[in-house]
Structures are given as C-alpha cells and as structure tokens.
Amino acid sequence: MNARISIPCIDVQGRRSYPPRVSAFTQTFWNSLAQGGWMTTCCQNCQKQTFPPKPVCPHCWSPRVDWSELSAHGTLYSWTRIHAAPTAFASEAPYAVGIVDLDSNIRLACRLVERPSIDFKPGMPMEMVVLKFEDGPLFAARPLSTG
C-alpha cells in the first residue's frame, strides 16, 4: 500500500554506517520509507500497531497483519549523545539518539537530528524524518519546528 503520511526527507552524503538487512517482509517498510512513507504493521484481529513491523502480532499472535500509518509526531521520552562509538560509527561521533513516544502511542528509538540552538529535553515535541543516505534510508527524529 502507499502510505498517505509523508515525513520530511533529509539528503545525507555517504552511505549508512551499519545498514539494516531487508527481508521480503520488511522491504515494504524500507521501500516506503525511502519515499517518505512512515508506516508499520497493525493487527487485523486486535487492532494494535507494533513497531518495528512484525509479520505476527506480538500481542495476540495473529498472523493477520496489515500495513498502517504511524504518527509523524511525538514526544521525546529520553535521549543521549554517544561519544564512545563502535568502529563503524566512529566517523559520526558524537551523535545523538533518543526514544520517542509517537502520538499514536508507539514508543521507538532512533537517531536524533540536531536543530541549531535547540537542546534536546525529555517532553519536547518531535517530528519523524527520513535520512536519505546514498545507499538507502534510515528513520530519525528532530525537534518539531515551532517557527
């Protein structure tokens, strides 16, 4: 399906430091993300969304799952800035990562994108973005622009 929700895309030079694997199942997510789509699986039986997307509902174990849209906005639950990075990420350090509670009641963890002169703080409103690297996308979050 084509997700109606579209999140901002940011072009990033270079390749992803540790690219995710893509399966026949998760390619729906990654291909959509590459186009700015933002979605996950939702159980047809118990109606619950889960993230990352899963082929079986972790709540009721039904295999009847559909793709559905995620909220593009949420709240920062917590964050850190990693200075001591694994070899693959050393050239990016220091970099910020965080936990975001989406408005649709899904908690996820991702890279954070800095905005000039805005400090990360738990409770602040966030928006999801796509980081478009040369070899594919990653999802991330940044402080919601108040301007």
Binding site: R16, S78, T80, I82, A84, A85, P86, R107, A109
Partner: protein, 397 residues
C-alpha cells in the same frame, strides 16, 4: 524435606587487564588460570575432587581461542561427572544463570557438589572493536543498531529520564562512583582501587551523555569459581556457608525497548523478580543487610536499588548521595566496589558478586566486612533490566 543449596567455597583472580595481544611472545592461557582457580575454590570449600558431579561454565568470549572450553577443562582436571557439564550464555545474565543452573543440579539431586565457574577475557580487544559485537546485543539489529546504539547508551537514556523526572543531578549519580571506588579500595580483587572525589567523577570526559568515564564500567578480564553444595554437605563440613534462601526471575516480555510506552526506569523485571525472591525467603526488603547489584553504570545501581525496594522510588540517588548505601550506611550496596570499580568482565561479573556475598556472609570480607551481615542479595540482568535473576543468600555458621 526439600533440598537446599549453599555456597561453600570461592576463588577469583583480581579483575584487570590479563588478556595478551595476539602478537605477544608470552601468552596468557585461560585454562591455566581456570584450573588453578578450581583447585583453590575446592580447597576453600573443604571437599574432594570425587565429590564434584556438575560443572556449569559461563561461555567464554569469542576472543578465547580454545573452543569447547568446558569439556577441555574437564580433561585438564580429569574430572568425571554424573550431573551436567555445560556452558551457559545470557549476555549480562550469563554468570547469574551459571550459578542458578548449578543450584538446579543440586536441587534436582543430580549432584551434591557443583561448580559454577568461568573466565572472561576481552581487554586486548579495543573498546570500539568490542562494541562492534556488543552493539548487536541490544535492541533490533536492523532497526536499532543501524542508528548507532550501544549497550550503555540505553542506561544513559535511563539517566536522562531519571534526572528529568526526579531532579537528580550528575553529582547525585557521581556519588555512586565515589562510594564504589571507596569500597574497591578495600577489595584486593578490584580493578580500580585509588579513591576518587565527586569533582573528579563529574569532570571526566563524556562517554554517553550525561554519563562520563567514571559513571560507566571499565573494561577488564576476570575468572572465578564457586563451589556449591547441598545443605547436608555444607553442614557436614563444620564451616560457615552462604545458604540460598530465595530466588526470583522475571522477563518483562520486551527486548530493550517496550513499543507500548511504559515507565522505562521502573525496572519492572527487578521489581517482580525480587518480590518472588523475598516471598520465597519469607523476608522483606528491610531485612536485607547488603546487596551486590549487577549495575554496569552509576544510574543502574540507583534504579535497581529502587526496584528492589531498598530505596524509595525516586529516592535512590539521594540515598547514595547521603551515604546510605556506603559501608557503614543503612544498606551497603556493592561492597566489592561494584561494576564501576571492582570491574566488569561481563560474562563472569555475577560470579564476582556471589564471591563478595559469600565472603561477607562467611565473615571473611576483612576491611569491607558488613557487621553482623546475615542476608545478602545479588542480581543479574538482561538488556535494560528487561529481565532480572535475583538470589537471596543467608549466613549460616
């Protein structure tokens, strides 16, 4: 009457940098260390070679060249057994599981004497290179590792959240590191023994904000051996022993992060597992005399002390700052020096925690001795404490 299990003997090498690099002319060999430790622990226990019927090893790191280390060591010692011989693995819970499994073999009647033992060598591998492996152990390797998370980055996020919710400061967290270093200064097995000040801890370079170098565990190598026995055997030896009084386990059904928003810093698994262990021992948290926590970072010790009911929720940082968790305080925590100063050779870390409890409960802790220590508690964990394994031990004279 149901069988009960006791720790009757221990041995360990001081935690430090023991691993040699691949090009060193003279190498440190794991089995040479381990065989000596077995002899030492069995001698401490006062049992004989033929009494040992089960051995549960912690999985060595992939950097250990000798594979099938557990059965290799059986050959080195010419030990024949009827119970079990195995290596167990559960990341940070590995050593707690080895202890638990050795207990099980005694409880099931497969052995009257069992060893829980292992060696963790990793310090010759750089932190950045080691992190290439450890980053794949937390969260989803495709959806999380791709963002650059490391194991301690999750604890850093616990710290950020805790400081946000309860107004704790870096100094509050740092108090745990200062206290643990003081404890370590009294422990010959500890890796870092030179006392540090609050100012020095806060001034360290950031590793994962807001945690600095002294808030996170050092890297080091270690090896330890515990001798466990049925209570009948323990009693027959006529020496003090540490009896396992309660055991609790809980896995909260999430891996690293719960996609249904919850109170991440509540450490529900430690809360539930400890409730089970307290009930089994028929005690309350207030009865505990000391606790050896699996707490890789300063913040983790605070959160676990709260989840176990040793400190009020949101009050763990203040309790540490006020000295309540120091030797001589209301409830001494990490009298060994904890993971931040005694050291954290992860796969055997909990073995050192049981060694400390056994020394304290047998009155052999020297300058670190908690007066009249009767009940001690140890924890092991998975992920961001998504699972906890807890044991309560009692001093028996």
């Amino acid at each position: 009457m149901t069988r009960r299990v006791a720790i009757i003997g221990t041995s360990a090498i001081p935690i430090g940098r023991h691993q040699t690099s691949d090009d060193a002319e003279i190498q440190t060999l794991e089995h040479e260390i381990m065989t000596r430790l077995v002899i030492e622990a069995v001698s401490d226990a006062g049992v004989e070679k033929k009494d040992i019927q089960s051995l549960v090893f912690t999985l060595p790191r992939p950097y250990t060249r000798q594979k099938y280390f557990h059965t290799f060591l059986m050959g080195q010692l010419r030990l024949s057994c009827r119970g079990s011989v195995m290596e167990v693995m559960g990341n940070g819970m590995t050593a707690a599981l080895a202890f638990d499994q050795a207990c099980n073999d005694i409880l099931l009647g497969r052995a009257n004497v069992a060893l829980a033992l292992g060696i963790n060598m990793e310090s010759a591998v750089s932190a950045a290179e080691h992190a290439m492996s450890s980053m794949r152990t937390t969260g989803d390797v495709d959806f999380h590792t791709s963002a650059g998370f490391t194991p301690i980055s999750w604890y850093a996020m616990d710290a950020t959240r805790y400081m946000h919710e309860y107004g704790a400061t870096r100094e509050h967290l740092a108090a745990v590191a200062v206290k643990n270093r003081h404890h370590a200064s009294l422990n010959p097995l500890a890796q870092y023994r030179k006392p540090v000040t609050l100012e020095e801890v806060v001034a360290q370079r950031p590793i994962v904000e807001p945690l600095g170098l002294y808030d996170v565990p050092p890297r080091g190598d270690g090896a330890a051996c515990l001798v466990l026995a049925s209570e009948d055997v323990a009693r027959s030896l006529g020496r003090p022993y540490a009896l396992v009084r309660g055991r609790g386990f809980f896995h909260d059904g999430s891996h690293q992060i719960n996609d249904v928003p919850n109170n991440m810093i509540g450490f529900e698994a430690a809360r539930q597992a400890s409730a089970t262990a307290y009930a089994q021992a028929d005690i309350t948290p207030g009865d505990i005399d000391l606790a050896e926590l699996y707490a890789p970072c300063t913040i983790v010790e605070i959160l676990v002390s709260e989840a176990l009911g040793l400190c009020p929720t949101g009050g763990g940082a203040q309790a540490a700052f006020d000295g309540e968790t120091r030797l001589g305080g209301r409830i001494p925590i990490s009298t060994s020096g904890g993971l931040t100063s005694r050291g954290h050779p992860a796969y055997v870390t909990s073995l050192y925690n049981y060694v400390e409890l056994a020394e304290q409960l047998r009155g052999k802790a020297g300058a670190r001795q908690v007066k009249n220590a009767r009940l001690g508690l140890a924890t092991g964990e998975l992920g961001n404490y998504n699972a906890a394994l807890i044991h309560i031990l009692e001093a028996m004279q």
